[in-house]
C-alpha cells in the first residue's frame, strides 16, 4: 500500500501518444510506489514505454491518465526535486564542467561560494575533482556522463532519474560507471529510478526491479532484489537466479 512517506507514487498511470492514425498507447495501468532510498530499475524491450515512464516522472510529459506524486507532492512539470540524467549527457558546452554542475544551484539563487563548494563535492563524488575547469567537449563519454550525474545531484533532488545512462558507452566504461553508481547509491542513500534494457545491469544496480511489457507497457514483474548491498552483487548466490527470472520475463514481454 502506498504511504505518504514514499519517495515516489504512481497511481493508475496511462499514456498515449498522438499518432497519424489515432492515439498510440505507450503505457497502461501503471501502479507503483517506491520507498525512499531504493534504486528502482525498470527493464523492458524497446517500445515498452520505459523512457516514457521516466519522462512522465520527470515532468517533461503529462500522463493521459493517473497521478504521479514525488515526495508527497503531485508532479505538474519538471523540477529540481527530480534530477535527470539523460542517455546523451546534454551538458551545456558553453559552460565549464564546474559551471554545468552549478547550474541547478544558480537557478535557485545559491550564492557563488556555496555553489563552488557544492560543485566541488559533487565532482569529487563522481571522481572528477580536478576536472572543474575543463570544457565539456574535452571530456570522454564516460566523464561526460559522470558530470551529468554530478549536475543532477547538485540541487540535492529527492529522486535521481537516469534514462539508460550508460547506453551510449563502451562496455568497459559502462561497467566502471555501474560500479560507481552502485557505490554512490550506497554512500548517499539517494532514491534512484533508472532505465535499462540490459538485464545484468538491472540486477547489479537495482534494489527493486520492474519489467514492462511491450506496447502498451504494463508491469509484468515487480520484485525486490534481496541481494545484499555489497560492492559487487554478481558474486552473490542469489544473483544468477534473479537475473534468469528477469531475463525470461523480458523475453516473454517482448514476444
Amino acid at each position: 500500500m502506498p504511504s505518504t512517506d514514499d519517495a515516489l507514487v504512481l497511481t493508475g498511470i496511462g499514456h498515449e501518444y498522438r499518432g497519424g492514425s489515432g492515439p498510440v498507447p505507450a503505457l497502461d495501468g501503471i501502479d507503483l510506489s517506491l520507498a525512499a532510498g531504493e534504486h528502482l530499475v525498470v527493464v523492458g524491450p524497446s517500445g515498452s514505454g520505459k523512457s516514457t515512464l521516466l519522462r512522465l516522472i520527470a515532468g517533461f510529459l503529462r500522463p493521459t491518465r493517473g497521478e504521479i506524486a514525488a515526495g508527497g507532492v503531485p508532479v505538474r512539470g519538471p523540477g529540481p526535486d527530480r534530477g535527470m540524467v539523460f542517455q546523451q549527457p546534454t551538458l551545456f558546452p558553453w559552460l565549464s564542467v564546474r559551471a554545468n554542475v552549478e547550474f541547478g544551484l544558480r537557478t535557485a539563487g545559491v550564492p557563488r561560494e556555496r555553489r563552488r563548494e557544492v560543485a566541488g563535492e559533487r565532482l569529487a563524488q563522481v571522481g572528477l575533482a580536478d576536472a572543474g575547469r575543463m570544457r565539456t567537449y574535452e571530456l570522454s563519454g564516460g566523464m561526460r556522463q559522470r558530470v551529468a550525474i554530478a549536475r543532477a545531484l547538485a540541487p540535492d533532488p529527492g529522486v535521481l532519474l537516469m534514462d539508460e545512462p550508460f547506453g551510449a558507452l563502451d562496455a568497459l566504461t559502462r561497467e566502471r560507471l555501474q560500479d560507481e553508481v552502485r557505490a554512490l547509491w550506497s554512500a548517499t542513500g539517494k532514491t534512484i529510478v533508472s532505465i535499462t534494457h540490459d538485464v545484468d545491469e538491472a540486477v547489479r544496480l537495482g534494489s527493486r526491479l520492474v519489467v514492462l511489457s511491450a506496447r502498451p507497457g504494463r508491469i509484468v514483474l515487480d520484485e525486490t532484489s534481496g541481494l545484499p548491498r555489497s560492492p559487487d552483487p554478481r558474486a552473490e548466490p542469489g544473483f544468477a537466479p534473479l537475473r534468469d527470472r528477469l531475463a525470461s520475463a523480458v523475453r516473454a514481454a517482448a514476444a
Binding site: 534530477g83 546534454t90 551545456f92 558546452p93 559552460l95 535557485a108 565539456t136 540541487p155
Partner: protein
C-alpha cells in the same frame, strides 16, 4: 560583402601528417593570391599604358596611387581619405550594432513566442528582400538628409539577417537541453538567457558577420544623399566631376577595408563559440 574566397581552415587536427600536408598547400595558396593580384595590376597598367581607352575611362595605376597620396594628405571635397573612411566605418559600426541588438532580441522573440513568429516573421522576410537603395527615399523623407537616415538605413538593412539567424538557432535548440535546464529548476527567463541564448551564439555570430557585410554594402547607398564626408559620398562626388581615379581609389579602399573587417569577424566567430562542431 560575401565570404572570402578561401574557406576558413578547419581547426587543425593535432595529427602530425595532416599538418605536414597543410603547410606547403597554404603557402602555395598565398603565392597564388599574390600572383593573381600582381597579374591584375600588371594587366591594368598595360591596358592603361596602351591608351585603349582615354584616362578618364581607365586611369593608370600610378594616377590612382597619386590620388591615394593626395587625398590622404590634402583631402578630397574637404576631407582626407582617412576621414571619409572613418566616417563610413563609424556609420557601419553604429548601424550594425543597433541592427544586431534589435535582430537578436527580435530573433529570440520570433523563435520563442509562436504568436510573435506568426506576426513578425513574414514582415522580417519582406524587409530582408528589399534592396536598401529602395527604402532610402522613404528614410530621407522621414529623417531628412543628415546622419539619421544613413544610420537607419544600415539598421534596417542589418537587422533582418541577424533576426532570421537568431530565430533559426533558437528553434534548433536541443529539447533535452531545455528539459535538463527545467529539471534543474530554470524558470523561463533563465532558460532563455542561460540556455537558448548561449546555444544560439554561433549562429548569432554568423548573423552578425552577415549583418556587418550588409551594412558595408549598404553604406554606399546610404551616402548617395549628402554623403560627404563618407567613402560612398566621396565616390559619388568624384563621379560628378569624372574623377575616375578617385572613384577607383574609393572602390579599392572599400574592398580592402571590407576584407579586413571580414577577417576580424571570422576570428571573432571562432573565439565566441569554441565548442562549435565539437559536441
Amino acid at each position: 560583402m560575401s565570404a572570402p574566397a578561401e574557406a576558413p581552415p578547419a581547426p587543425a587536427a593535432p595529427t602530425a601528417p595532416r599538418r605536414r600536408r597543410e603547410g606547403p598547400s597554404r603557402r602555395r595558396a598565398l603565392g597564388l593570391r599574390v600572383l593573381s593580384v600582381g597579374g591584375l595590376l600588371l594587366l591594368w597598367w598595360a591596358v592603361a599604358r596602351a591608351q585603349v581607352w582615354p584616362p578618364v575611362v581607365l586611369p593608370p595605376p600610378g594616377a590612382v596611387w597619386a590620388q591615394a597620396v593626395a587625398t590622404s594628405t590634402e583631402g578630397y571635397s574637404g576631407h582626407t581619405l582617412g576621414e571619409h573612411l572613418l566616417t563610413s566605418l563609424r556609420r557601419i559600426l553604429v548601424g550594425s550594432a543597433w541592427g544586431t541588438l534589435g535582430g537578436v532580441l527580435l530573433g529570440l522573440l520570433i523563435g520563442l513566442v509562436p504568436a510573435v513568429r506568426a506576426m513578425l516573421g513574414p514582415l522580417v522576410t519582406f524587409v530582408r528582400t528589399l534592396p536598401p537603395l529602395a527604402y532610402l527615399s522613404l528614410l530621407v523623407i522621414w529623417f531628412g538628409i543628415g546622419e539619421e537616415p544613413k544610420i537607419w538605413l544600415l539598421v534596417v538593412a542589418s537587422l533582418p539577417p541577424v533576426a532570421v539567424a537568431t530565430a533559426d538557432a533558437v528553434r534548433g535548440v536541443d529539447p533535452d537541453h531545455l528539459n535538463a535546464a527545467r529539471s534543474l529548476g530554470a524558470r523561463p527567463w533563465q532558460q532563455a538567457l542561460w540556455v537558448v541564448l548561449p546555444h544560439s551564439l554561433p549562429e548569432i555570430s554568423t548573423g552578425v558577420r552577415i549583418a556587418v557585410g550588409v551594412a558595408y554594402t549598404s553604406v554606399v547607398a546610404a551616402e548617395t544623399v549628402n554623403g560627404v564626408p563618407g567613402i560612398g559620398g566621396m565616390i559619388r562626388e568624384a563621379q560628378r566631376f569624372n574623377h575616375t581615379d578617385v572613384v577607383i581609389l574609393g572602390l579599392i579602399v572599400i574592398g580592402l577595408s571590407g576584407l579586413l573587417i571580414d577577417r576580424l569577424l571570422v576570428t571573432l566567430d571562432r573565439t565566441v563559440a569554441p565548442w562549435r562542431g565539437r559536441t
